[in-house]
């Protein structure tokens, strides 16, 4: 009995010591925090090119110039944690608590913005945000900050295809004439295949219906997709093995192996692959016309209950500075979010034809979810 008691006393003592130690380190950290540096948490999702952009370029560049601010980088490959992060931010903002994330760079930003979970841009304290074209703010109700653009383009292998199709109609004719040499990834697994599917369907929609699908969520208009989806369904026999691979990368792989000759791809992803040699030099990129593939801006969002907002906007300001924008173009082959007149002359020449604000916009995010579901039901 005595031994038992003393053992229990020992355990209690240990626990007390541990608790005190924990408290002490906790308060230490807190004082250090206040006096020396501020940490902001950045959540980003996407492919490795997005990861490298933040991790190797934007964050080190910013931290070098602002010694008091640290950026903690949370990366989710292919957006696997997007839905849970969305739910987490939604729950935290609803309870007016800190969601653990201060700045978001992911597809969920538009949803956050439209559902009113993001800080409006009008409250932002970074001067460079005022330079961003106003048109880019409309689709997100002025609650997210565009910081780069990217677009889907048509990749073709010059070893087999000398003159690529110039229009969507031309592309569809080409697909039928060259069975098995084209495919796109299933729309629910990546933006490049999604863009092709939406572009085909868009070409069959009346202008006003199309506009409503971009601006809001109108499920009653979805019956208009029938004609376009039937057209896509009729291509089943002509795409590579009748299969729509999972993910943007799977299509690039098929293109690299020479299994397919033509495919829709993300401009930034394809250019990066060309640079690294993952795609052969014979692959070239072009844009089609009437209509062109969709593309758009990537947005940054600041959740309403984020901490250290002043520092977060300082970081945003850095990302939108001409120097950082030039980095985005160099590293990721992205499009700048700032109007070209603010950027160096070399960049201005490079982007004479396209810039983020002239890219064709896709549907609103809820409309996109329904479109993916409709595709899965009716096309394969």
């Amino acid at each position: 009995m005595k031994r038992k008691l003393s053992a229990m006393f020992g355990i209690a003592l240990l626990a007390a010591v541990a608790a005190i130690a924990a408290l002490a380190t906790g308060s230490n950290a807190a004082t250090k925090h206040a006096a020396k540096s501020v940490t902001i948490n950045l959540y980003a999702s996407g492919d490795v090119n997005v990861q490298s952009l933040w991790q190797d370029h934007l964050i080190p560049g910013f931290e070098k110039k602002n010694p008091g601010i640290k950026v903690k980088f949370i990366f989710s490959e292919h957006g696997q944690n997007d839905t849970t992060t969305l739910a987490r931010i939604g729950a935290a903002v609803k309870q007016r608590k800190w969601p653990g994330v201060d700045l978001v760079d992911a597809g969920i930003v538009t949803t956050l913005a439209i559902d009113g979970l993001d800080q409006p841009v009008s409250k932002a304290t970074s001067p460079n945000i005022k330079l961003v074209p106003k048109a880019l703010l409309t689709p997100v109700k002025g609650k997210a900050i565009p910081y780069r653009g990217s677009s889907v383009v048509l990749a073709y292998n010059t070893a087999h295809v000398q003159s690529p199709p110039k229009t969507l109609t031309g592309l569809i004719q080409w697909i039928r004439a060259n069975p098995g040499k084209f495919t796109y990834n299933s729309p629910n697994t990546g933006g490049s295949g999604y863009s092709f599917a939406e572009t085909v369907v868009d070409s069959t929609l009346p202008q006003d219906v199309h506009n409503q699908m971009i601006e809001g969520y109108t499920p009653q208009l979805e019956s208009n997709w029938k004609q376009g989806l039937d057209l896509l369904h009729s291509l089943n026999g002509s795409v590579y093995q009748g299969v729509y691979p999972n993910g943007n990368q799977a299509v690039l792989d098929l293109l690299a192996k020479g299994e397919i000759w033509v495919a829709p791809v993300w401009s930034d992803q394809a250019l990066t692959a060309l640079k690294s040699g993952a795609l052969p030099k014979t692959v070239k990129l072009t844009q089609i016309a009437s209509p062109s593939f969709t593309g758009g801006a990537a947005y940054l969002g600041v959740p309403k209950t984020a901490r250290h907002k002043a520092e977060v906007y300082k970081f945003v300001n850095y990302v939108l500075s001409p120097a950082a924008q030039t980095q985005i173009i160099d590293v990721m082959s992205g499009f700048p979010a700032l109007p070209l007149k603010y950027l160096p002359q070399a960049i201005q020449n490079q982007f004479a034809d396209v810039s983020a604000n002239t890219l064709r916009r896709g549907y609103s995010s809820k409309m996109q979810s329904d479109f993916k579901a409709a595709w899965q039901q009716q096309v394969p």
């Binding site: 997007d82 969305l86 629910n188 093995q241 979810s369 899965q376 039901q377």
Partner: protein, 301 residues
């Protein structure tokens, strides 16, 4: 005497309370919330997910089974369900048969070849499923080994199995064989040599020894392999996602599509419930077999 009995009972209860509490909080509660959500209850713990979800079926009074009705009448979901069921059954049969054969070979002929075969069959255990799936896809794919060899020797019609349900099936078998072999060989090794020798001495043939001695003593490991393989394959995601066709595919990728891409968490949870019910069916067989074995051993009445 009675006080002591009572004290022992309370002590026993206190000892199992923590694990029961953990299960209740971390499994029971989310499960209850998910079931309520599939029946149209969007309040309480489901209020955040229902804030963002699209195309929900909401029950204003009582419950609604509209979500179940929608999913079960959806033709593509029905195709996926059917694909999931047949792939599970075929995998189960092949894995049980193959692991029985390998384990039996090892038990009855303890040569270096038998040991090599059984060690080789355990290798997939040490290879992550993602990497294995991708390799299987490349191996059987359009420029895979067999297709290349067939092409070189002039047979151009060799099928490309990448992006087919056959490829999914091959992957599932590959992933599940090691567990089967390990279970079966440990079960068969538990049969004493004396029993087999006694049977042989009384003139029983080898097939007779297998049927009358090894099989009855190895029923439980067989049931474990069958049920665990079945439950694993039912809920698998990586293999069908990486190697399977666009449509129909197994329910794992379909669930993920509904949850993330289509933003329809309620429908995804309905699919999860369907898989859950199928798994419970398999689990019931497992429990029944265990109870039967315990009864025979006289442990419970």
């Amino acid at each position: 005497m009675r006080r002591r009995e009572l004290r022992e009972r309370v002590q026993g209860l206190l000892m199992v309370l923590p694990p029961i509490g953990v299960i209740a909080v971390f499994i029971g509660f989310p499960l209850g919330a998910a079931i309520a959500y599939t029946l149209g209850k969007t309040g309480g713990p489901n209020s955040v997910v229902s804030l963002i979800a699209q195309r929900q079926h909401v029950a204003h009074h009582g419950v609604t089974i509209d979500a179940y009705r929608e999913m079960l009448s959806n033709p593509t979901v029905r195709e996926d369900l059917w694909a999931t069921v047949w792939i599970t059954l075929v995998t189960l049969v092949v894995v049980v048969a193959a692991s029985w054969a390998i384990a039996l070979y090892l038990r009855l002929s303890n040569t270096w070849l038998a040991r090599a075969v059984s060690s080789l069959s355990v290798v997939p255990l040490f290879i992550p499923v993602v990497i294995a799936s991708y390799s299987i896809f490349v191996f059987w794919g359009p420029d895979g080994l067999f297709r290349t060899i067939a092409f070189r020797i002039g047979f151009h019609g060799f099928p490309s199995l990448g992006y087919t349900l056959t490829c999914v099936l091959l992957g599932e078998i590959w992933v599940n064989i090691p567990f089967g072999v390990l279970m079966m060989s440990s079960g068969l090794n538990g049969v004493p040599d004396a029993l087999i020798e006694a049977g042989r001495d009384s003139g029983a043939s080898m097939p007779r020894v297998v049927r009358s001695i090894l099989w009855p003593m190895n029923v439980i490991p067989t049931v474990i392999v069958a049920t665990f393989t079945g439950i694993y394959v039912l809920g698998s995601f990586t293999v069908p996602y990486l190697t399977g066709p666009t449509q129909p595919n197994m329910l794992g990728p379909t669930m993920s599509n509904f949850f993330a891409s289509f933003n329809q968490p309620q429908q995804a949870e309905v699919l999860a419930m369907i898989v859950f019910v199928l798994a419970i069916g398999i689990g019931a067989i497992y429990v029944w077999a265990n109870v039967r074995a315990s009864k025979r051993a006289g442990q419970i009445s």
